[in-house]
Symmetry: C2
Subunit: 126 residues, 2 copies
DNA sequence: GCGGTAGTTCGACTTTATTCGTACCGAGGT
DNA sequence: ACCTCGGTACGAATAAAGTCGAACTACCGC
């Protein structure tokens, strides 16, 4: 899950009037093993699935997810998802909003996001 | 990727005259996050992909893969794949042969194995 | 019985990931 | 000026994975 940071460029879809996206791997650079690694964590699956199911109009801040973790942990997980190429993050003033890179992922790994959308977390009660 | 070993039972397809399969999670117990975690490694992707593409008639020993790693490392990776539910392993006399649990995986995570079959390793040359 | 084969288990080590506190930044409101 | 909000960066502690040597098992052929 290590990244050659030098290959992290902007998004392939140039922003119309949107804030710039943070560094991310280009579509052709997406690595299946990195994407699977990023998705092999329940919290991160929760994030991506919630974005897929409840994507209303637009990107969401990381507070929107109502995840019960300290902020520095959330930064870590969102960054992991972005560096693997699962999420795109844009800086909207002081907020950083995330969306799933559905087009890129569907192009490179068709069917993968359907699995994420269909995922349900393990029941905590035994 | 931890397993409650007590839930590791035999395969759901009873063996006809085959050797018994090693403990593995039942189809209903397969966890997406565990499967993705098991597949988030290039060596393990190589193993599964090779099994998918070159599955001739039957299971394969772990020497068949021609992986340039010490035996104890291979044991480790095959076990990880089996405990995640990706592989089924049977003891044929002194050999342990592996196959992909295609039916179970297609039933639970349709499309996932297609992604593995389509995967190609990163070029080692820059 | 010896050596080869196919693989396990154990234990130690290294590497990588996760968790999270603390300190900090920058914009907006009062 | 100061506080709050939404977030980053650093760093340290801990947990989890990966790597691999060494010793071992079991079976087969000679």
């Amino acid at each position: 899950m290590s990244m050659t940071t030098s290959t992290m460029t902007g998004p392939d879809t140039p922003p119309a009037d949107l804030p710039p996206a943070l560094p991310e791997p280009a579509r052709e650079e997406l690595r299946l093993e990195a994407v699977l690694g990023a998705l092999s964590d329940p919290l991160r699956l929760t994030i991506v699935r919630k974005l897929l199911l409840e994507r209303e109009a637009y990107d969401h801040t990381c507070g929107w997810f109502e995840l019960d973790r300290p902020k520095s942990s959330l930064t870590h997980h969102f960054k992991a998802l972005r560096e693997a190429g699962v999420l795109r993050q844009r800086q909207y003033g002081l907020e950083r909003r995330s969306r799933v890179r559905t087009e890129d992922l569907d192009a490179r790994f068709p069917g993968l996001l359907d699995l994420v959308a269909a995922w349900e977390p393990a029941s905590s009660a035994g």
